[in-house]
């Protein structure tokens, strides 16, 4: 029971809104100590686990080029492109990105998206620009809301697309686990049974993205900003 103290620290730390990095480090050390290891061993194990996990952070290597392009007007260009497409609304644009992200992930092309590479430099500015086209100048709150939905479209798309691809990590993990338990399952059957959930994810989140348009419009009408018109 004692090693569960780590989970308790995590839950309490997030509930108290302490800094997550501090909470996680404390939980890691407490878990190791509660399992009966000496402090030096716990710090060593934590250091080894941290260094072994470095590939998780490799995505930051994209920042120099993304920053360089932003400095040269990438976000502004993304806005110009969208403002030329009159039928583009925030919801429709994000719906298209959701579909694209799900389809490409289902083909194993999960590296075609991502928050640092695609959402920050391209998808979020385009979604904001589409709203500006329709509603005029946006307040900060509306911008933040649109950006959060842009990130959500990337997450939902990749989570509920990738499992349709037979060679993705999760399917390998499932097969490995079942093999250890003496059960053999074809990867194609696992991938096949990911399709119903993928379809539901697209319908549910897609509907919410289209409803976002309506909610943005009524919020803009409420504040009677420039460019508002009756739907």
């Amino acid at each position: 029971m004692l090693p569960l103290i780590g989970i308790l620290i995590i839950v309490a730390g997030f509930a108290l809104r302490l800094n997550p990095l501090l909470v996680v480090a404390a939980a890691a050390l407490a878990t190791g100590l509660a399992a009966g290891h000496a402090l030096v061993d716990v710090i060593s194990a934590f250091g080894k686990a941290f260094v072994d996990s470095r590939s998780v952070s490799i995505v930051w290597l994209a920042l120099p080029v993304i920053g360089l392009l932003e400095r040269s007007g990438l976000k502004e260009r993304a806005r110009i492109v969208i403002s030329g497409i009159k039928v583009a609304t925030t919801g429709r644009l994000l719906l298209a990105y959701l579909a694209l992200r799900q389809l490409t992930s289902a083909l194993g092309l999960t590296s075609l998206g991502g928050h640092a590479q695609m959402v920050r430099p391209l998808v979020a500015p385009m979604a904001e620009a589409a709203a500006e086209n329709q509603l005029g100048e946006l307040d900060d709150e509306t911008r933040f809301r649109i950006r959060a939905f842009a990130a959500s479209a990337d997450n939902v798309g990749v989570f509920f697309g990738e499992d349709i691809f037979v060679a993705i990590g999760s399917i390998l993990l499932i097969r490995g686990f079942l093999d250890q338990n003496g059960i053999h399952v074809e990867a194609t059957r696992l991938a096949w049974w990911a399709i119903p959930t993928a379809a539901c994810a697209f319908v549910i989140h897609g509907t919410r993205l289209l409803l976002l348009d309506r909610s943005l419009r009524s919020a803009a009408n409420g504040t009677a900003g420039p460019g508002t018109e009756q739907p």
Partner: protein, 317 residues
């Protein structure tokens, strides 16, 4: 052979550059804190493979202390004005997208082709690390294309990297820290303890109760662990295999596939899945670090209900 170490060194050099730019920014009152934080992170990339594990552990704890006690400074203002960027956007037109799209293009190309390249009998790239090495190669290729095309000052990439790294701040380290926490949980045997508690305390007498407990349990345990991969073996060994499959005769493929996707519903709502939820909030400069999670909660709940229904309808056919 090109291994992960090659990418680690590049990453370390970038972080060291970020630390140097931070230290030289006299306008930031916290400049030495930021420099120390990114500098320590850089050391774990450059030397982490050679240092004793205990020293690596101390480096990580030192990063946490710098951040918690000294606090980090925020991002510097943008280095060009809006008018300059609009002029540049008009001048370059859609060619500005080329370097950005080079990242996924080269990453994909590398993922598909690098495994076939050999020098003699040795593979050019460590087969286990193809994806990460390809991503590293993609970012470098994109940077080269960008530098040749735009001809900015030579310091621009690292100055801009520093601006973005400081905008993301401590959240940049959180995904890796959480991966390390997962390893500590495994070391301490947290999973089996949770499984024992579940089996002892939850009444599981009907097929529906078993399916619902497994799917909801996957979502909840995933949101605690931050990762469905960590929750899957625990929940499936505790409920999925013994109850859904063996006791009530459910189909293994449906149970496992929909079970994993139920876990992903938990990933959508937890700050523990930092790289999906907290990092984008920081990257998009949202004041509320939970804003992305809040946008995803209704989808996650509806989809979890859908998963329970899908599993119940199809697993016992």
């Amino acid at each position: 052979m090109i291994t992960l170490e090659f990418v680690n060194v590049i990453m370390g050099v970038m972080l060291a550059g970020v630390a140097v730019v931070s230290a030289r920014d006299v306008s930031s009152p916290k400049r030495y804190n930021n420099a120390a934080f990114w500098g320590l992170f850089a050391i774990t990339f450059l030397a982490g493979s050679y240092l004793p594990n205990f020293v690596n552990g101390l480096l990580v704890l030192a990063m946490v202390l710098v951040m918690a006690i000294g606090k980090l400074g925020g991002a510097p203002p943008e280095s060009t004005t809006r008018a300059e960027r609009e002029r540049s956007a008009a001048r370059w037109g859609n060619t500005l997208f080329i370097p950005a799209l080079t990242i996924p293009a080269v990453t994909l190309l590398g993922t598909f082709t690098l495994k076939y390249l050999h020098i003699g009998n040795v593979p050019l790239v460590d087969p286990k690390q193809i994806t990460v090495v390809s991503l590293g190669a993609g970012t470098i290729a994109a940077l080269l294309v960008g530098m040749i095309m735009l001809r900015p000052p030579a310091s621009a990439p690292i100055v801009e990297a520093r601006r973005l790294m400081d905008a993301v701040g401590w959240a940049a380290v959180l995904p890796q820290m959480l991966a390390a926490l997962g390893a500590m949980f495994a070391l301490a045997g947290v999973g089996p303890i949770v499984a024992t508690i579940l089996q002892r305390w939850i009444p599981l007498n009907t097929p529906f109760a078993v399916v619902a407990t497994y799917a909801i349990g996957m979502a909840l345990f995933t949101s605690v662990m931050g990762n469905a991969f960590a929750a899957f073996p625990v929940m499936t060994a505790a409920i999925g295999l013994p109850l859904v499959v063996h006791r009530f005769g459910g189909d293994v493929a449906v149970m496992a596939s929909v079970g994993m996707l139920s876990g992903y519903c938990g990933t959508l709502v937890t700050p523990m899945a930092a790289n999906f939820n907290i990092v984008p909030a920081a990257l998009l400069e949202l004041p509320d670090q939970n804003a992305v999670i809040k946008a995803q909660i209704p989808t996650a709940i509806a989809l979890l209900v859908a998963n329970v229904a899908i599993m119940y309808l199809f697993v016992f056919r």
